[in-house]
């Protein structure tokens, strides 16, 4: 563990010219492109982890895997998913909730504090370090999913969760509704048009009991499914090769979706927010969160 050098990050970002932070680049095309903006790295490393506090302070450039491994040593995790190589900052800026959101919660609720550099090159802090906080405006939630267009994030404090004691994946040609009916807070329920695949987790005896219930429905033990890489908003029809995250409003699909349709009033409020934070549009000028469907 070491201290994150935020001053160096602020200098890297500077006060003028188009700029962006490149994380692992695993979702580099989400919501647009870098449009040739100068790319700076975010600081890496875990600065502080207090298992008894259930918070972790980490450089935004730290990989999701490295953070996960450090937390797992103390039986904890965070509600952030990402493919191999993805960074904590990148995952927060893309703003996809973890597949296990039924237990872990939404990514919007994981970010407690963010140390940022604004469009004017000045450092500022959004939110606060405690697990509960309503002091001033909720900038952390605004930053999650903002694709780095409001501020560039150097260091974050995240809420952690205890790792489940046990889990099981089960799958079978049973309707998602029937599956949900026999379970309490499943971590995720997936439906590919034929099969429902579910992950249950928690106390090992409870997991065994839920597995029994699912077997009674005709489901069998399975493994974590490999999901198609792209995602879209669920509109009631499953695309070819698509997998629905039941109750999450998200459908995983093989090909990129159409850009989202956003009501005029919502878009114009969003543009006002962006202009207010970045009047010259120097932060990630080639990206627009309104293009991201879900």
């Amino acid at each position: 563990m070491g201290v994150i050098d935020l001053a160096a990050f602020r200098e890297d970002v500077g006060g003028s010219g188009p700029v962006c932070v490149r994380g692992g680049g695993t979702h580099w095309d989400v919501g647009g492109s870098d449009a040739g903006a100068r790319s700076v790295p975010a600081p890496e490393g875990i600065e502080a982890f207090e298992p008894a506090e259930m918070t972790v302070t980490v450089g935004a450039g730290t990989t999701v895997e490295a953070l996960g491994a450090a937390l797992a040593e103390h039986g904890q995790e965070v509600a952030i998913d990402g493919p191999h190589g993805s960074t904590v900052g990148g995952a927060l800026m893309v703003g996809r909730s973890p597949l296990r959101r039924g237990r872990l919660g939404e990514v919007a609720d994981v970010l407690l504090q963010a140390d940022c550099v604004g469009a004017d090159g000045a450092a500022f802090t959004a939110g606060g370090p405690t697990v509960k906080n309503v002091t001033g405006y909720d900038l952390p939630r605004l930053l999650v999913g903002s694709l780095g267009t409001l501020a560039l994030v150097g260091r974050v404090i995240l809420r952690t969760r205890p790792l489940p004691e046990a889990f099981a994946w089960m799958s079978g040609a049973v309707s998602a509704g029937k599956v949900v009916d026999v379970l309490y807070r499943p971590a995720t329920v997936l439906w590919d048009g034929v099969n429902t695949t579910v992950r249950v987790e928690g106390n090992s005896q409870d997991v065994d009991e839920e597995v029994d219930r699912l077997q009674m429905l005709g489901m069998e033990t399975s493994v974590e499914p490999v999901l198609p890489p792209e995602w879209d908003r669920w509109t009631g029809a499953l695309p070819v090769g698509g997998v629905l995250e039941v109750g999450a409003g998200v459908v995983h699909r093989p090909d990129a979706p159409e850009p989202a349709k956003v009501p005029v009033g919502v878009r114009s409020l969003g543009e006002r927010v962006r202009d207010s934070f970045d009047p010259t549009r120097r932060l990630n000028p080639g990206r627009d969160p309104h293009r991201v469907p879900a």
């Binding site: 008894a52 919007a108 697990v131």
Partner: protein, 491 residues
């Protein structure tokens, strides 16, 4: 008297008459109040702030009416202040600059409950507990449960990002608001968020929740409904020292257990509450700790056993597991009626709300007792220990000369101690008017400027609930906050 003054005054009165006429045309006669009684009633909220001046009070019933009220106010250059039940404790609904008060309590329809998709659309005026009652039998509930839940509205919960004991596991209001129909400060109506999953674009819903009425008015709210747990265990532990209770809380979290609720009440609270509620709290305990665990049977049983061990190791004299639903209800009734029972000790109280790291509960509580007792005051602690959310309640008799200054000093010192311990100004009551002046303790000018950028994007003309939250900008006219009031003004 100079004629310009007279004509100015006449113009202002005429302007006010015109404003009232237009508002009556919008919402109808009988739903606009400008009499002295109404203006007095709506001059304050649940906080200790006094001296607010509403210009006029409106009671719209539809989104279109709210929008028209806001637009009408804007045409007259008047600010507006949204208001629910007025139970807020930070002065967020106290009117500054003679605003149009937009009271949403009549918008109390529960429009839709979708049991399968676990969501409900409700009006902002729906009372928190009424929604829970409405949901009985569906197997679902609305998780945020502030202590004022019998009176406070969902609209107010959204504005304050309210908490409550069960937010430890389930999260505060923001985690339970999926979408909001909002009348923006220019009168435009937008729906932010989505019934399922994340809406495209910025998380405007996340930014709006907790905006304390400065970003617009919620007119319809889509809330997430939480599955009732199949098993609930409520434990009551009692200790010979507050430190023992606090250490138990820290140790439970450290053991990787996140209970549904972890609440501490100290001896003075127990002494005030027990005679009324007969919850079975031991009157000689220095502190009691309520722990609630929920989930599936085996997991709950395992956690109960762990907590019994942890409690005993930290000095718990007894660990009682509620055996019946009635016993459980009484344990909670004592906790939720704590503030009401306090009047038996002293007539006035000042309730603070800060958050500290939960690993530092014992040491910070010790400091809180010292700070208050050094000033010859009485403090009672009843709080959401699991997330480090302190609620020191200083009780006093305002008729006692000089007591206000001491209460103010102690309150300010508690805020300082909390921030110095790595904490924040507010965990669930918000900033409103009451804590505005403390904002620089936690935030730099650049931090505050970033927050103001959000506010300005929503409220371009600065007409939404002015003089709240951020310390810059307008002050609130004649309003007095704790400590700056002349003696004898406290009700």
């Amino acid at each position: 008297m100079p004629s310009s003054f007279v004509s100015g005054l006449v113009g202002r009165i005429r302007g006010h008459d015109a404003l009232e006429r237009e508002l009556v045309a919008v919402v109808g006669r009988g739903r606009v109040e400008s009499g002295a009684g109404a203006l007095k009633l709506y001059s304050r909220d649940g906080s200790v702030t006094r001296g607010g001046h509403p210009g006029i009070v409106c009671f719209p019933e539809t989104t279109a009416e709210v929008s028209a009220c806001v637009s009408t106010a804007a045409r007259h250059g008047r600010p507006f202040v949204p208001r629910g039940a007025g139970t807020g404790l930070a002065g967020g609904a106290v009117p500054c600059e003679e605003p149009v008060m937009v009271v949403t309590t009549r918008m109390d329809d529960i429009y839709e409950v979708d049991v399968e998709r676990r969501l409900a659309w409700v009006g902002p005026g729906v009372v928190n507990l009424d929604l829970s009652r409405h949901l009985e039998g569906t197997g679902l509930h609305f998780a945020p449960d502030p202590s004022s839940q019998q009176a406070c509205t969902i609209g107010g919960n959204v504005a304050s990002n309210s908490g409550g004991p069960h937010c430890l596991l389930y999260g505060v209001t923001s985690a339970h608001v999926l979408a909001v129909e909002v009348v923006l400060p220019d009168g435009e109506v937008v729906v932010i968020g989505a019934e399922e999953g994340r809406a495209p674009g910025y998380d405007l819903r996340g930014a709006f929740v907790g905006g304390e009425g400065t970003l617009g008015i919620a007119t319809k709210i889509c809330v997430r409904l939480t599955e009732d747990p199949p098993e609930v265990a409520t434990l009551l532990l009692d200790f010979e020292s507050v430190q023992g209770a606090a250490d138990t809380v820290s140790a439970v979290i450290a053991a990787g257990i996140v209970p549904a609720a972890l609440e501490i009440m100290d001896q003075r609270v127990v002494e005030a509450v027990e005679p009324f509620v007969e919850a079975g709290y031991p009157m000689d305990a220095a502190a009691v700790l309520i722990v609630e665990l929920d989930g599936m049977t085996a997991g709950v049983a395992a956690a109960v056993a762990r907590i019994q061990d942890i409690g005993t190791a930290n000095g718990a004299r007894t660990v009682r597991v509620a055996a019946t639903e009635d016993e459980r209800a009484r344990i909670w009734k004592g906790r939720k009626s704590a503030f009401g029972a306090i009047a038996v000790i002293k007539p006035d109280y000042y309730l603070n709300d800060t958050v500290i790291p939960r690993t530092r509960l014992a040491e910070v509580l010790t400091r809180v007792y010292e700070v208050v007792e050094e000033r010859d005051l009485i403090v009672m602690n009843v709080f959401h220990a699991g997330d480090g959310n302190l609620h020191p309640l200083i009780v006093f008799d305002a008729r006692e000369p000089g007591v206000m200054e001491r209460v103010l000093e102690a309150g300010e010192e508690i805020v300082r101690i909390s921030v110095e311990a790595g904490g924040v100004l507010s965990g669930e009551h918000g900033i409103g008017l009451e804590k505005k002046r403390f904002m620089p303790l936690q935030f730099s000018p650049a931090d505050l400027e970033a927050q103001d950028r959000l506010r300005r994007a929503f409220d371009v003309n600065g007409l939404a609930n002015p003089a709240k939250v951020l310390p810059s900008g307008a002050s609130c006219g004649h309003v007095t906050s704790l400590g700056r009031a002349p003696e004898g003004t406290w009700v």
